[in-house]
Amino acid sequence: MNVPGDATSAASNRAVSVWRPDLFAGVALASSLLIVAFILLPLIEMVFQPSAADLGQTIRDPDVLRAIGLSIWASAAAAVLAFALGTPLAYLLARRSFPGKKLVESVIDLPIMVPHPVVGIAILSMAGRDHWLGRLIGALGVRVMGSVTGIIVVLLFVGLPFYINTAKNGFEAIPLRIETVSRSLGASPAATFFRITVPLAWRSMVVGMIMCTARAVSEFGAIVIVAYHPMTAPVMIYERFSAYGLKYSQPVAVWLILVCLGLFVLLRAFSIKPARFP
């Protein structure tokens, strides 16, 4: 008889409340509608201004197809790299405390804060012939500037934080005790990771990869510096806009936005997790 709290009072801490119209509520509603319109209207307008014929013709243009294809596969490649390289770090951040942990977390967040052209400049600073690392990878026959390799490196740079932070949250949601039990039953850390942790956190890992892909698909500022060619979809939109004007860039933009929308829907679908841990 001594359980504190009450199921029904908890319910009222969710947003169950009585709506009474007054000036305050009116102002709130008006500015909310304004914002939703401000975000939606330009996108809707842009999608519906090009004619169906224009859209059809655009998607049959091999240059456009090649650019969208490159955007998608380079982004996916970056997401796979982020998964392969970032998973151990995400797990480490979720499970261990060590001096300087806050600093490492800040470093992971850096690519989000750095202006996009600066990202491109920074990567070229390392990869150019002026730098020993640039000469080294050049000697290995790898070219960064103006190559698919360079594009993937840029996309990995901007996408990494999204994968690592999401995967980290997924690992943190698994009770440590479950891993302890696995260890006590004889499983090594590696066996525990593959038999327990990954099966329980795979959704977060997939969501992280989708977020990484989505961020990479929308990147422009860093790519345009590192690799104007081969042309990704955002660069092509920019080129068509500056060379031919708004009308000619819109159809490509519409197709790219549909790709992003697809990723967005995928993301929401995977984000709905079954609640397994009470």
Binding site: P4, D6, A11
Partner: protein, 347 residues
């Protein structure tokens, strides 16, 4: 002072149904029920933050059903106090004063008296975040009472406190009620608090009022099987009645007075069943004495529940754990059991 008339509230997964309640001016009314019964929801309906499906709420005779919370003159104190963490004790207490429509004369007298009575004078300048649980609760009381509400709602005000503070707060509440004439509607799941404070009680279960009345009514004469179980009358058995006799399966008990019309159950508290280990004390059982076989025993800290089988009936008696550990009672043994006729309740 407060009247709820067939109040219905429907939330996803929970509903209050036909709540009728009447708290008189100056009364200390306790709404008791198990966790999840809807106790707090009743309070929040009165405050005005949940949408009401049907029914009406009156405060001081005014129908406030459609009024916003700020125009209802209700004071509320939550278990977690819900103090304004960015304000000092003094500013917490004074928060509502600027909205009060009462004359300032009254307010100038009222608030210092309140602060003094709740022993908050030395805390006025302090931040509320560093107070003890009991101090926070007193600040929350002062804040609610400063605006002179028509009624004070208390939502499990003692549950979150340490046991020592709990006793102190109980005295504070008693004092506020007796000497300041505050009308109080309190919600709790604790018997001791209810016994100590309530003038009248209502028992709520699954969003419905099961029974209401005086302490003696609800605890002494539970009207429904749930009420009986909840107030601890765990021996609740179907019975046939004949005058002052109750016929259970293979066991007949004498009652102190004839069973009421339509009674179908007999209720006996576990602590009223006495297992006679030594020679019987004088008057034990007042005529009700029977032999039973000891069944399973469950420890509950310093008391234990002893299962008894008598005739075709299974009963539970409460015994100090010490007596069991001392071997005075053992599973499988025959014992003599006595129960006072006045302690057998026919429902």
């Amino acid at each position: 002072m407060i009247r709820l008339e067939s109040l219905h509230v429907t939330l996803p997964g929970f509903a209050l149904q036909s709540i009728d309640l009447r708290v008189a001016a100056g009364e200390f009314f306790v709404l008791i029920g198990p966790t999840g019964a809807g106790k707090s929801l009743v309070l929040e309906s009165i405050v005005g933050v949940v949408p009401i499906t049907r029914g009406r709420i009156f405060v001081d005779g005014r129908d406030v059903t459609r009024l916003p919370p700020e125009r209802r003159r209700i004071g509320i104190v939550y278990q977690d106090q819900a103090l304004f963490p960015h304000l000092t004790v003094e500013k917490n207490i004074a928060y509502g004063l600027r909205y009060g429509c009462r004359d300032p004369q009254d307010r100038r007298r009222r608030v210092p008296a309140l602060v003094k009575r709740l022993a908050l004078t030395h805390l006025l300048g302090r931040a509320v975040t560093h107070l003890s649980g009991g101090e926070k609760q007193r600040v929350a009381l002062a804040r609610a009472l400063a605006v002179d509400p028509a009624v004070l709602l208390l939502d499990e005000p003692l549950s979150a406190l340490d046991p020592n503070f709990r006793e102190e707060m109980r005295e504070v509440l008693k004092d506020l009620h007796r000497h300041m004439g505050v009308t109080i509607l309190m919600v709790t799941h604790d018997f001791a608090e209810t016994h100590c404070l309530a003038q009248r009680v209502a028992l709520i279960h699954r969003g419905r009022i099961e029974q209401s009345g005086t302490l003696e009514d609800v605890f002494g004469r539970p009207a429904t099987p749930f009420a009986a179980e909840f107030v601890g009358m765990r021996n609740f058995l179907p019975a046939g009645f004949e005058g002052r006799k109750a016929h259970l399966e293979g066991l007949t008990l004498h009652l102190a007075r004839p069973a009421p019309e339509g009674a179908r159950f007999v209720g006996i508290r576990p602590e009223d069943l006495r297992i006679l280990t030594g020679p019987p004390p004088p008057g034990a059982g007042n005529g009700n004495r029977f032999t039973a076989t000891v069944g399973p025993v469950t420890f509950r800290g310093f008391t234990c529940d002893v299962g008894l089988a008598a005739g075709g009936v299974r009963l539970v008696a409460m015994l100090p754990s010490g007596e069991f550990l001392a071997g005075k009672v053992a599973t499988g043994e025959q014992v003599s059991v006595a129960v006072d006729a006045a302690k057998i309740h026919a429902v």
